[in-house]
């Protein structure tokens, strides 16, 4: 029997009933009295000077209540990498120049959406088009137009990582391969588009409800851009219809709604339409990969050198992190004694690229796992064997970078090896590709420059024993409200039903950096656990005193029973003690506090999860069309807090990462995204979804709450690589340019046929 009462059990989501009955309120559903509807005017040019903006006709339209342009702003540029001011480069409402098709230039608030939209047509913007550049490989040439002043070759960030001595190591390699890859863009396609409802009162205080992954960031960034104090902004994240990395920066809906409301002092709601969502919000970072990989004959990998140029789009956003993480995760999950990474982020006149689930690691994993299969083939080594030979192990230190404590990679390899064997001899045109991966449990580097703890939580125990849990964590669908409630219940020793969670409301919850980088379970989980333990200890003090317990005994609470650890039958009801304890505290409720900031864990993350995935495909050799037949994942994420949640994260990741490998793409023409609708942007649907299996591997992460670590984004990393390897096994062609579309497979098959002739 499990030593836990709540953790690891299959429970209903705490937000479940609201969501299945349609009563869960999203920003999208909210209406306030006297509310106006906002719309945003966007640039049709990829690069142009704004000569003038005439809003007079729009202002005269009946029903229009306010129009704002860059002139109504305090003229600040914003960015989420606040530690480095030069990376704060986005005005949101452009004043002098637009840098991509979709850059915002004006916003209107009107009595209804139709009027606001009509008003947009009446705003006259005089542009002087400038030469533009769309491809990062062209952007980094002398001839390319400069997109931001003073940024030479349009390279706004370069990143270097190195350990060992790569140059010397090549000499010891028996075999070296050099390859190039192109990783495409991807849209998040949250079901709820970006939206915000902003309400300024006449005291100058702003409340903003918004679909976000990080209410705290929005509070801070909005205050900064509006020239008001943080404390005057309350940001509330009601329910959020998906984030996947697209919703933790200040976006145009939030900023324009707030600015309009500041001007007109009425609530203003802006909902981006699906086309804006595709063209004017951020997206996965496309990357051009140049890789050199060397090994001994026996498969021991000695050195890897990686050069990456990323398509940054018009602004930095979280692109700096993507550039860093793709470099770090290019070494994953292997023990390269010698490693060098240089990454360059190039501005282009395209929609900005930023964070998306996996954050640079799906790209690096696709490239790395394709190449390791190629290397294994060259050396005549089994793909699983070469991964085993080089794979990370518990307590491995990535030189100068990271300390990996728990690591179940080898157990995952064993499980997948067994799975592949069990599939037996495959029919013709079928192949199984494997791909190994790892990911972090939240980031350490404090680029946001916050003085607050990374995560905090407050537990308040009420007179009837019911618990209010206050946390800045953001429920975006990933299940953090459920997971954190479970952690709280377990740590306090009460039932899950006793917990009522209040999350992501900066007016009442302590700050948290938000739901990105797979950080909530470990970081916020630790904060919640500590807060619950703080409260629990206060109760135990009273219980011990009341029961007259010899101080040598340890006490604990489990299932609502405060008891002696060694003699569980000796105890009192938690519910009874709560009343006494509150009386004893002169009527003050029991309050527990907890916070977490990682220390002494390197630069990247306090913990890492690992896994291995096997994808099976069936290729039609005549058309190149292939089907995803089965995707099986051996996965370890420390102690599983919420098993239903993990299943959902894993299967959902396969839909998204399978799409990245198979069909999702954002083709452009002169900076214009050609498929800005769900009809044209291809997404895996129920009939396309492969069968999925999960092989859960047991590990325990000392840094995590009850031994838990991430299970969110890492699962997005392996799939494109596994598909690429499976297609290679099935059809003998290696596709190095995502997505691996049937047409690309077909062309490669044709080329192969020609070559064989």
């Amino acid at each position: 029997m499990s030593k836990y009462s709540v953790i690891g059990t299959r429970v209903h989501r705490v937000d479940g009933v609201e969501k299945v009955t349609g009563t869960a309120k999203y920003t999208f559903d909210m209406v306030l009295p006297n509310m106006l509807y906002g719309k945003i005017l966007r640039s049709p040019h990829p690069h142009a000077k704004i000569l003038s903006i005439d809003t007079s006709k729009a202002e005269k339209l009946i029903g229009v209540k306010a129009v704002v342009t860059g002139k109504d702003t305090i003229g600040k540029k914003q960015g989420i990498w606040r530690r480095f001011p030069e990376l704060c480069d986005e005005e949101i409402l452009c004043r002098e120049k637009v840098r991509y098709i979709g850059d915002a230039v004006a916003a209107v608030a009107a009595i209804d959406e139709d009027t606001a939209e009509e008003a947009l047509d009446l705003i006259e913007v005089d542009y002087e088009p400038l030469p533009a550049v769309f491809n990062p490989m062209e952007a980094i040439t002398e001839e390319a137009p400069q997109i931001h002043e003073g940024v030479e070759l349009n390279i706004n960030i370069n990143r270097h990582l190195e350990w060992g001595n790569v140059d010397d190591a090549w000499k010891d390699c028996d075999h070296i391969i050099e390859e190039q890859y192109v990783c495409s863009s991807q849209a998040h396609v949250c079901m709820e588009t970006h939206d915000a409802l902003a309400s300024f009162d006449h005291n100058g205080k702003l409340t903003i409800w918004t679909s976000t992954q990080a209410a705290y960031y929005i509070q801070v960034l909005a205050a900064d851009m509006l020239g008001i104090r943080e404390g005057d902004v309350r940001c509330i994240n009601p329910y959020t219809g998906g984030g996947f990395g697209s919703k933790f920066e200040l976006d145009s809906a939030q900023f324009c709604a707030a600015l309009l409301s500041q001007k007109i002092r009425r609530p203003v709601k802006i909902v981006l339409n699906r086309e804006e969502e595709f063209t004017a919000t951020k997206r996965r970072t496309p990357m051009y990969y140049f890789v050199k990989l060397g090994a001994k004959k026996d498969g021991t990998m000695l050195a890897k050198e990686v050069r990456v140029i990323t398509e940054g789009g018009a602004y930095t956003a979280m692109g700096a992190t993507a550039l860093y993480l793709t470099g770090f995760f290019s070494s994953f999950p292997y023990k390269y004694p010698n490693y060098r990474y240089d990454g360059y982020r190039a501005y282009t006149n395209t929609a900005p690229t930023s964070a998306m689930r996996g954050f640079g690691a799906p790209q690096s994993t696709f490239v790395g796992e394709s190449m390791i299969d190629n290397l294994a083939e060259d050396l005549g080594i089994d793909p699983i064997e070469i991964r085993r030979k080089n794979g990370m192990t518990p307590n491995y230190v990535v030189p100068g970078q990271a300390w990996i404590q728990s690591c179940g990679l080898h157990e995952c390899l064993d499980a997948i090896e067994k799975h592949v064997k069990e599939r037996g001899k495959l029919p013709p045109n079928r192949g199984i590709g494997v791909s190994a991966y790892g990911f972090m449990s939240g980031g350490i580097f404090n680029w946001f420059d916050t003085p607050y703890a990374f995560s905090s939580a407050i537990v308040r125990i009420n007179i009837d024993g019911k618990v209010d849990l206050f946390t800045g964590a953001n429920e975006i669908g990933q299940g953090s409200n459920t997971t954190l409630s479970m952690i709280c219940a377990e740590a306090l020793g009460v039932k899950l039903d006793d917990i009522r969670i209040h999350s992501a409301d900066t007016g009442i919850c302590p700050p948290d950096l938000g739901a990105w980088g797979s950080r909530e379970t470990l970081m916020n989980g630790n904060a919640v656990k500590r807060a619950a333990e703080d409260a629990k200890n206060q109760l135990i003090e009273f219980a011990a005193a009341k029961m007259g317990i010899n101080i040598v005994y340890d006490m604990d609470i489990k299932d609502g029973w405060i008891h002696l650890v060694d003699r569980p039958e000796r105890g009192v009801s938690y519910y009874d003690i709560v009343k006494d304890a509150i009386r004893g505290k002169d009527g003050e409720a029991i309050i527990g506090r907890g916070h977490y900031t990682p220390h002494r864990k390197g630069m990247i993350s306090p913990a890492y999860s690992f896994g291995v995935q096997a994808a099976e495909v069936e290729v039609d050799p005549e058309t190149g069309r292939y089907k995803l037949v089965n995707v099986t994942t051996a996965h370890e994420s420390g102690t599983v807090i919420n098993p239903v949640g993990i299943e959902g994260q894993l299967e959902g990741a396969i839909m998204m990462a399978g799409g990245y490998g198979f069909c999702e793409d954002q083709p452009m023409d002169e900076g214009k995204i050609l498929n800005p609708s769900i009809a044209d942007y291809k997404l895996i649907r129920a009939l396309d979804m492969p069968e999925t299996e999960i092989l859960e591997i047991d590990t325990y992460e000392p840094e995590g709450p009850f031994g838990a670590k991430e299970a969110g984004e890492g699962l997005t990393n392996p799939t494109a690589g596994a598909i690429g390897n499976a297609v290679y096994k099935a059809a003998g062609v290696r596709i190095r340019h995502l997505p691996i579309t049937p047409e690309k497979v077909f062309r490669a098959l044709e080329a192969k046929k020609k070559q064989e002739k």
């Binding site: 479940g16 009933v17 709820e192 959020t240 239903v644 299967e651 396969i654």
Partner: protein, 159 residues
Amino acid sequence: MKHELKFTLNGQPYEIYIKPKTLLVEVLRDELGFTGTKRGCSSSSCGACTVMLNGASVKSCSILALQANGAEVVTVEGLAKGAELHPLQKAFLDHGAFQCGFCTAGMLMSARGLFEENATPDVMTIKEAIDGNICRCTGYNSIVRALTAVSKGEYKEES
């Protein structure tokens, strides 16, 4: 000019006046405040707005509200009977068949349409029934598991 729309929503008759361009989803959400039904696209491709119209699942963003004149419409709000959840809702809860929840109303109504036609659908039929609904969170398989359980009779409506 506004036109009269008479229809029944979740068993309750309504008479309202609307512009002819008003979509069914707009009547449900904006005119009548039934915000359980969502909108996720404007190209008739995501299924978040699925409701039942005269016993069949339809996309309410792709129907003029006036076309529903005289019709019986059921939305997600019409599934539960008071505090008693509908079997489909129970199955979704048990199987973790949703995460962010934004597609859930549409999924449930597609499923409802399926079970109106066929009380014991097989897996392929289930997948086909929800193929018009995008879910960016779950990867669909948990939804298929939930509906398979309903198909097997594990969730009976309490009489």
